[in-house]
Assembly symmetry: C2
DNA sequence: AAAAGCACTTTGAATTACAAAGTATAGGGG
DNA sequence: CCCCTATACTTTGTAATTCAAAGTGCTTTT
């Protein structure tokens, strides 16, 4: 009878960070604005969560341009992918039940 | 391209509450002490999360006795089971990806 | 009678989350 | 050239959340 929640990643306790990751694992590159619209969050709020994901090495930022207009995109890193899939696995194990 | 996190239940953002629910869906009745040991939390912390789950109608409390000794057990309600499974479904959909 | 266990409640502090406002840079319209 | 807008933030301040620790009331064990 072991603790079911130890495998969960604290960073993914937050729904916005979880949402960002889930978007990024299926979409190669997503812009700041697209994330903002998808997740329906204020830009300040999104920015802080993106910073924390970046600080943990889970996502990468690419500052580019569309024509001459700035366009920042985000993508998941190897580490981020691993962390996310580990979290999902932990969730699945937790849900499946244990005695 | 709809918001992937809207289906998530705010109450289950917390790992302890999520852990309690995951234990209770597979175990009919679990005592306060067992939950405390399984989840490795302080009793005060556990108690507050149990209260919030109860206030939401997700769990039921049974104050009973083992011989003459008090024994409080917790079990999940219909509503709680539904809410939990809805949350899991939302998680699965989110993880599966969307474009 | 004293100590300890159970199931809490209360308190207080730290952390987290969030919206709103402000900032820097660039583009397009008049 | 000046203004307005957009992008991608940062800063600020507040509200909410989380948690450990201490306290409570009851009972059982020694």
């Amino acid at each position: 009878m072991k603790n079911p929640i130890t495998g969960l990643n604290k960073i993914f306790d937050n729904r916005i960070r979880l949402g960002v990751m889930s978007v990024l694992v299926v979409n190669e590159e997503v812009s700041f604005n697209d994330l903002k619209q998808m997740l329906e969050v204020t830009d300040g709020n999104l920015a802080t969560h993106l910073v924390s994901l970046e600080e943990n090495g889970y996502i990468k930022v690419h500052k580019g341009f569309i024509g001459r207009k700035t366009n920042t995109t985000y993508s998941v890193t190897k580490i981020g992918e691993k962390a996310f899939s580990d979290h999902i696995t932990a969730l699945e194990n937790m849900i499946k039940g244990f005695k």
